[in-house]
Every structure is written in C-alpha cells, then in structure tokens.
Symmetry: C2
Subunit: 628 residues, 2 copies
C-alpha cells in the first residue's frame, strides 16, 4: 500500500517548518523529511525582523521564541576609519519611528532554537519531521488524479526507502536543491560579484563599547559586522575574499585564529579576545534567484532553494517565513474549495518579485559594505571636522532601506487578490489608496490598539485573528448612531446564502458555540470595530445576529494613539477610514490587504465584496439579492 | 546522621513556593514538604493582581504564567436590581489610569498552574517538594547552635518518618496550621461575621453580556460574583449563608444543581446553562489574623496560616507572594552577614500591618456585597433615571479601594529599613517625600522606561535588576555636564573599602567578567541613569571605574512618557528628582523604596548612604574617608 499525503515537504529549515506549521494546524496530512539527523545545533541564520515577529506572534510562536531571551537590536552603529583606528560616526534605528511597528527591533536567536519552536508546534498538531531522510526522486505522473505526485524517499544511511503519493511536493532544501536540479530550473545570478565570508559566534572580552549593538565597522585594514546574540554571544562577519579581488579564489579559507587576528586589527584601538567560540564557518556566497518557483503548481520550491544572497541584511530566514505563509494559505484555499487552482500561480509572481527586490538591495548593500571608506585622515582635507562629514553612501543606503529590511516594505503588486482599479471586480464603493484610504492593497494591514468589548481587554487588532487560513473581514462600523442602517443592510445582504459571507458556510451541524474565530465558516473571520466607548456598545442590541455571532470580535475604537493624537477613533483614522461612516477592509489570510470598500446604506457594500470574492474564489457570489 | 537544612518549608501553596523559589535561587539548602500528593488540580485561588505580576516578572516567572493564556480582567461591571431582573449600572477599571501600572489588569489562572510554574523554577535550582509528607513536631532546642531547630516529618501514609535540623522553619500550611497550633499562636477574628460561600468553575452558555468580565451582581433574589478564567471558563461565587442570617448554620451546604438554579434566578432576564463544571465547593469563611507571625525569629508563618478572609477581593494569593518575598530577603541578608538578626522582626511588623489593612477592607467589602441593594423600582421614586442614580456604597468602596486591591497600595511604615526623618541615620542630604521627591519610602519603586546604553534596548528600569536578593542602588546622575563632579566624588567615596558599596565585596578571586548584576558583591546591584540621549553617553569616559563596572546597567533617560509629557528626563521627573542634578534611590531587595539621597559634590551623598546602611547592616560603614 502506498501512503497518501496532502503534501511532502523536503527540508526542515525555516521555510519548510513554517509551511508544515501552517498546514498541520489546518488539518493536512504531511510527510516532512530532513536529511540532517537533528535540527541546526549552532550558527546559521539568526535574525528575525520586526514584521516577522508580528507573523510569529500571529502563529502563536512568539512567546516560545522570546523565552530563549534573544538579543534585541534597536539600533545600528556605524564605525569608520579614524586617525587612530576606528571611531563611531553615528547610529541609526533598526526600525525607525516612521515605521509603525509593534516590535521596533530585530530579534537575534540561533536558527536551531527557532527551528525547535516550530517543531514543537508541528508535533502538537500531530505531524513530525522524519530524519535523516532524503528525497531520491519524484514525478507528477497524475496516475492518481487526487494524489498526482509520486515521491521516492530514502533514509540517509541507505537502510530504508519509501515511495509515497501526494497532492503537493515542496522543496525547502536550501541552496543545493535536488528538486530544483531535477526540474532543470536555472538559477540566475543577478550580481556577478561573489564573496567569501567568515562568520564566528562566540563569547568575547572587549572594551569596544558597541559590542552589544549591531555594528558595521569599516577600518583601513578591512570591514567587519558585529551582531549580538543570545547567551552573551557575539557574531562577527568578516569578508575573506571578493570576486573583485585581483587574486580572487572562491575556495579561499581562513582559520579561527586568522579571523580573530584580523578582527583584532580592524577593531583597534580597542581590544578583543575570545572566551570561547561556539561556531565558525567560512563559505562562499553568490547571489542567485531561481527562474521559476514551480513548473506545474504541484511541485513548489521556496526559501534558499529559490534565492540566495549575502547574510548581511539579515533577510534570509524572514523571506523564507513569508514564502511559506504565502504558499500555505493558497494551497489551503484550493484544497478547501475556496479558490480555483490558478490562485497558486500568484505564489511565484508575488514571492519572486520580493526576492528580486531583496537581491537588488543586497547587491547594492554588499558592494557598499565592501568598498573601502576613506579614513578620517584622508577626509580631513575636504571637511572641517569628522562630526560634520557627509554621510557616506553606505550609511545613506542603510537608512533608505529600513522599511525594506524591517519587513514592512513588502508590497505585492495588484493581481486577482490585491485589488486595484484594473481589477476585474468593478464597483464604485471600492476605495483605492489614491481615493483616501491609508491602506494599500498588497501591503500589511496597519496595526491598531482597540478595546475588546466582551472583556474590556486592550488588544492589538491586527493580532486578534490568529493565522487560521481565513480571510479577515474588518468591519469598521464608524459611529453607531450614524452607521446603524448601513451595518444592518450589510448584514442583511451577507445573510443571503449566495453572498461571500454565507457561500462557504459549514454543511455539517457540529456545535460551534464556543468557536471564536470560525463559528460559521473556515473561509473567513470577522471583526467589527465601533467608533464608540466600550461601555456604550451593546452587542446584542447593536449588531444583527449575523454579526453578533462574532461577538468575541467586537471592539471599541476608544484607545488614544500617539500617531494620530487628534483622532477620536484612532484605529479608523490610522486606516484612513471615515471615523463616522467607517468602511470594510478585507485582509488576506497572510495579513496583507486585499481590498477596501466603503460602508454605505443599501446593498452596495456587500455587492462590491461579492464581486471581489467572486474573482478570487471563481464562484458567482451574490447573484440572489436579499430584499432590503 | 541527621540532615541539616537552611530551612524547612511546610506547605507548597503560593507562600511556601515563593519562599522556596527565592531561597533556592540564592543557593540555600531547602527541605520543602507538602501533605498533598500533587499540586492543586482544580479550583482555589486564581487572581494575580497587577503589582504581583510585576513581582512575578522580576522573578522571571511571568512568561511561564502567561503561556497558559490566563483571562485578564481590565474592568469590573456592576449589576443591580432592575424592574425586570438586573441591569448594568456601570463599570470601573480594575486598575485605573491614576495608578501607574505596567499591567493594568488582574490575571486569572487556576492556582495549580501557578504552583507548577514555581515548582519548575525550584527544580531548575536544585530543590524540590517532597509529597505527601507532613510535619509531626518541631522544637527550637538550640542543640546545634548553627541549626537550632529540630523538625520531625512523616510520610502521610505513615510508612516513613524523618528528623532533620534547620536554621529556620516556615509554615505555609494554610488556615489549618499545625505549626501555629503548636506555637499556641491565637487567631483574632476581626470581623464577627462569617460567611458560607459556594464557588463553581465551569464552561457556560449564556446571553449575559458581561460573562467575560468580572462582575458583581446584586439582584432581588441574591448576589453573585462572576470571574472569567482561562480556557473559556467562568467562576461564580455565590453566598450561601451569612452569620447575619436569622437561621445561620455554618455547616449549611448546597448542591451543584442548587447553586446553578440560584445563579439562574439571579441572572434573570438572562439565561445560563453549564456545558461542564470543573470544580465546585462550598466552604465557610471567617476573617482571622494570627496575633504573631513568629515567636523566636526561627519559626515563621505566612500566607493563610496568618490571615484568612473572603475570596472576593482576590487578595489571598497576592498577600502570600509578598509575605514570602519579604521574609526571603531578610533571611538571606542575615545568613549572608549583611544584616543583624533583628532585621527579622520587621517581617511581622511589616506584613501584619498589611494583613490588618486587608482584613479591614475585606470586612467592609464583604458586608456591602452581602447587603441587599434596593431594586430600580424602589429607587425610582427618589431618582429621575437610573443613569443619574447615585453610586451605592458598594461601588464607592470598590472604587476607593483600587489602589489597595491592585497591590500598589502596600505601604510599609517607617522603620530601620524604610527611612524617615525619625530614622537613626541623620544627614542633610536625605530627601523625604515632603521635601520634594515623589517616591515614598516603604512603597514600591516607580516604574520608568529608559534606554539601555550598551545595546540601545528600550527597557523597564524597575525590572532591570532581577530578584537577586540585593539592594538596588539607582544613581540618577542628572545632566552629565552638571553632575560629573558629583558622580566622580560619589564613586571616590564608594571605592573606600569601608563604604556601603565596598564593605561586602567578594573575598574570593572568582572571575566575574560576565556577571551583570553582582560583579563585585551580592549585597547590592547598581544602575546609573543619565539625563542625556543614549548616543551621547560614553560609559568608559563618563563613569569612574567603580561605576563603569556596572556598564550593562547604564541608561539614558531619553524616552518620552505620557505621564510627564513636558519632562526632558521622564524617569528623573517621575521620581521627583532634579532633572539636572539627579539623586540616589536605594530600593530594598523586594522592590520597595528604602531611602532617597541628594546627589551633591563632595562626600555628603556617600556619607548619607553609609549612615543609612550602617543602621540596617549593623556595621560601622564609611569610617575611613577617602581623600577627595
């Protein structure tokens, strides 16, 4: 008997584990293998960007991450050549105030600890990672139309092998991907420059004052990057060779002692010694991007299998998380009958563009990082004092890239999911960014603090619906004395069984009285936010039964926000919605804005939503019209 | 061979576990027993007050508590009789804004889960709880002067017994304390009124809108208190009988069904049914306070063994936490040679006063809760509308007591530890509350958000020193351009080997390079806070070596605070210290303010501190004077 799985996932690094975590929660049958006998023990990626921490919190994993007491990077210090050694020329926020981040810092924790957090969650949901197993072959032969992909697996020691069938195969194998090779997918090398890097994690003694900060240090004898770590450790990145060197050798290496000696020279006049070295590695890195992420929308790739670049911007793991979440919900919606198969094509179109932006940034950044910066002595002729010297290109690029590196810059282009005026769904009530809303489709849903009505808890609205695979409908209901008719009309239209709201409701009669997020369908979850003090909101009286069913998700927009100090309803204001009349925001299951619709009396609001969802679900929604 | 312990702790409820947790961390040898075969399984205490959550965070236990997803009570709703059943007459913050709390909510989690968090921590530190064991006898016979107390223990099943010797014996046995009985310590009954209470934890279905809030409900047919719980549970407290009833019977009881029926009647016009009942108990409660907490300062008692009262104010467990922490550091200081034995007498004087205040509050509150409130119909004659009706006594008392019930009202009287103008240490630089500082000795140290210099992390200053048993010296260093001389002078005096700072330094030569909190002594930890932006603070240049050694505890007072919006240095301002000149705050190991001293050039600041610490350590400090 051949075992059947919804998906076979190869590789238990960040991308594979994130995909497994999502799909295991949503009830899929997963075969997950990794060719290493255990999770990463030391070293490797370690930077969680602010936006990724939002995501991990939404997946319920943030607390377990934070339990390891990771280092937090709030600022980056720039050190440049000085007359005697190096001096600090400035610092810059890792995630500056103009970015509205809940967690304005980068979280540093070694990849193995992060992997274990995911693995524990996966195991809670009945899946596991088989190790050390490897993939030996696969074909999408369609012999079983339901499980079209045959995958051959083998234990690394050669004693066991297995052939299974699956609906999907995913490669999260890293830069050396068997699946990618078999598919014949080429890697494009965007930047012809390759680098050899040395990286060292350890516990040090030093009088260098910024050893607990992230620092980029340029000296006359080389450059180094300092990154603080958990457990009082420090990571140093040192460039060992570059393809721009006259004598470049990609196999060039260096010993621990050589790298330490080099670091000591760069850090002068400060001293540094090592109590212990936990991890040391020298590896060549070239930029590359896979030309395709999938050929048949059955066999997919993500993470380092699709894009490689330098470690300096700390983006690798973060891009992997988002690759996985993007794919996870789309597979889920196809398999649940919520979307046609062609939604899967947006995985490549959305995520490849992000990878391309990342590689562009990385190439510029790596080049600037490697460029020798004139020392203070040389500059002195041109400038009066080092305090007044102009920012060099490296610092300028760094500052300009904060939104991108924090993760908040990810912007998916308009497509069938991300509404735009060119979207096939046309309706006068769609609100575009130009027309007033501050929300942009294809970008993250703005954070807002509100009061939950049922228990008066002050909560983060953007976190109230967990990563449950559902669309998130935010009904900003404005001032209830003004919007009550509009809310009632919307509810009436939504109750129509062909509406986006009702079309996918559960067919079974399971008792879901205590279900908070998905009481009537897994297609969507719903939040209602009133511009009103909490004590004046009576759910049973103010909301029709359709909406009152989501009573645990009713909020008062009554918390003052420093970013919109004059607003009466800060959440409404931050979204750019009318504080009196409100509006409806549709957020994709991965947290990006899908569309924004005005809230008006009559059938229009629901009509616009029906049109939008008709396009992405491939179903004719809202044909039957409720009598108002 | 008789085993020797630093302390024998009897009872593994909140008070015993907190004591064990502290002492195990500080390296003491503990024999901890409990007569139950396992931790609390269901029911019992469950409310953690805002101030206690600060404490648990300081002990490093908050995250493990929060992992259980406790319910959080931000507001309390008052329901009173209405013409048809009941109606909500108002709500009130559990911890109103005038209290500067980090966590303005009560955390609800069942006692067993809380106990397990402590037990895990104790086990990490090499101690454990032996179960089910009980105490059968003890005597402070002084036969071994180092271990004067003999304690006899027996396994509950009678198969094993043991006799051990200890420096201390602690009873955290609860209301029925064998130790207290043996000592012949009497319980005073402050309030002659006794009550029989029914309490029921369960999962319900109801249309009562405030079921996820804490509610006090008065109806014409009885009163009830609703408290939300983790895992979608609700606790109901119902008064079954009161000694004020004409037919009072303290043995009166009620079945689950009777209590449910009664709750259904009280909640009308709303309906309620139970999916399941997790715990149900009926128990009589009388108020009582032990006349002594110790007779010989070797055998101590704390928690319910010393004070019992109604559960309604949610204070029992919180008072227990604080009893234990108060005693723990005093035992630690005596055993470390940091204080003479008579500091132990302050355990009873400080904690008994808190218990008396609690019982006074509880008696008033319980009486008002039990008082029948006239229904809306009856009141209608006197008032135009229910919106305008005057607050009843119960609501008034509740509101007036928020500071007390949140835990921020605890105020220890002046004594040898809590400086006052009557304190034996006299010096013109002591700052009293009347003389300008906003800090009060014997009260909690005000919270403040600052930026840590070494890593630019935005941190909570009051949490920066963990519960390590050390005094916490906060050097608010003001504006460095103004205070640099004063800081230097203070450091010079502190370097004198007879100063409070140096007198208790380690005698050994252990390498403590990486020790953040106690690099040179366990007697104290030290934080320095500058009124300056972080990027302008250069620790090695601005602080003498004595202070620079605490480099991980240097902070920039550069974070804006809504409570002092016009301050340039919010932390200085919140403490009521001069923003330019600064000041020194001594905080006791349990987080309460000991004394406040002006920061001035010359020897005065250190002289005042030497005098203060001479009194509480019983040592002549600062006799030798450094040359300035």
């Amino acid at each position: 008997m051949v075992e059947m799985y919804d998906i076979v996932i190869v590789g238990a690094g960040p991308v594979g584990l994130t995909l497994s975590t999502c799909l295991a929660r949503w009830g899929y049958r997963i075969k997950h293998i990794d060719n290493r006998p255990e999770p990463t023990l030391t070293g490797r990626a370690d930077g969680i960007q602010p936006r990724s921490l939002d995501l991990l919190r939404n997946m319920g994993l943030k607390r377990a991450i934070m339990e390891h007491e990771p280092a937090k990077v709030y600022e980056v210090a720039f050190w440049d050549p000085a007359s005697k050694g190096i001096h600090r020329t400035g610092t810059w926020a890792s995630c500056p105030k103009f970015i509205d981040a809940r967690y304005p810092f980068t979280t540093l924790l070694h990849q193995g600890l992060i992997e274990r957090v995911f693995i524990e969650d996966i195991e809670k949901n009945g899946a596991k990672v088989d190790r050390p197993w490897t993939i030996t072959g696969f074909k999408n032969d369609g012999k079983d139309p339901k499980y079209p992909v045959e995958v051959s697996l083998a234990h690394v020691d050669g004693t066991m092998s297995d052939t299974v069938r699956a609906k999907y195969l995913f490669s999260g194998e890293g830069a050396r991907s068997f699946v990618r090779d078999q598919l014949g997918v080429k890697i494009h090398h965007k930047d012809p420059i390759a680098h050899v890097w040395g990286v060292m994690d350890g516990v040090v003694r030093t009088d260098f004052p910024d050893i607990k900060m992230k620092c980029t240090i340029h000296s006359d004898v080389g450059s180094i990057m300092v990154i603080p770590r958990e457990n009082n450790m420090v990571r140093l990145y040192i460039q060992i060779a570059s393809s721009t060197d006259p004598d470049f050798n990609p196999r060039k290496t260096a010993t621990t002692e050589e790298v330490q000696k080099h670091a000591q020279e760069i850090l002068r006049p400060y001293t540094i010694t090592w109590d212990r070295v936990e991890w040391f590695s020298v590896y060549p890195i070239g930029q590359g991007i896979a030309e395709r992420y999938t050929l048949d929308e059955r066999v997919f790739m993500g993470g380092d299998a699709c894009h490689t670049h330098s470690p300096k911007a700390g983006q690798g793991m973060n891009t992997a998380f988002l690759d996985a979440v993007n794919l996870a919900w789309k597979i889920h919606h196809v398999e649940s009958g919520f979307a046609p198969r062609d939604i899967l094509s947006t995985y490549e179109s959305e995520r490849k563009k992000v990878a391309e932006n990342l590689l562009d940034f990385d190439a510029r950044y790596a080049k600037l990082f490697s460029t020798r910066i004139p020392s203070a002595g040389e500059v002195a002729g041109a400038h009066d004092s080092s305090d007044q010297q102009e920012e060099n290109e490296f610092v300028k690029t760094f500052k300009a890239s904060c939104e991108f590196t924090s993760g908040y810059g990810v912007a998916y282009n308009p497509n069938l999911i991300n509404w735009s005026p060119e979207h096939p769904a046309k309706h006068p009530l769609f609100l575009s960014f130009d027309a007033g809303t501050k929300l942009k489709t294809g970008r993250y849903f703005t954070s807002a603090t509100v009061t939950r009505v049922v228990d008066a808890n002050v909560v983060h609205l953007e976190q109230e619906i967990p990563m449950n695979g559902s669309y998130r409908i935010y009904l900003f209901a404005g001032n209830p004395s003004i919007s009550s008719r509009a809310v009632k009309d919307l509810a009436t239209q939504m109750s129509n069984k062909s509406s986006f709201f009702s079309a996918f409701q559960y067919a079974d009669k399971v008792d879901r009285y205590h279900e908070r997020h998905n009481p009537h369908t897994r297609f969507l979850s719903l939040c209602t936010i009133f511009n009103s003090p909490r004590s004046k909101i009576y759910i049973a009286e103010m909301l029709p039964e359709t909406l009152a069913r989501y009573g645990d998700h009713v909020y008062a927009d009554d918390v003052w926000d420093q970013r919109v100090p004059d607003a009466k309803a800060a959440a409404h204001a931050k979204m750019g919605l009318d504080e009196e009349k409100g509006g409806v925001v549709v957020v994709r299951p991965d947290g990006y804005v899908g569309c924004v619709v005005k809230l008006e009396e009559g059938a229009g609001t629901c009509e616009a939503l029906n049109k939008y969802f008709s396009v992405i679900t491939g179903k004719k929604l809202g044909e039957e019209r409720a009598t108002l």
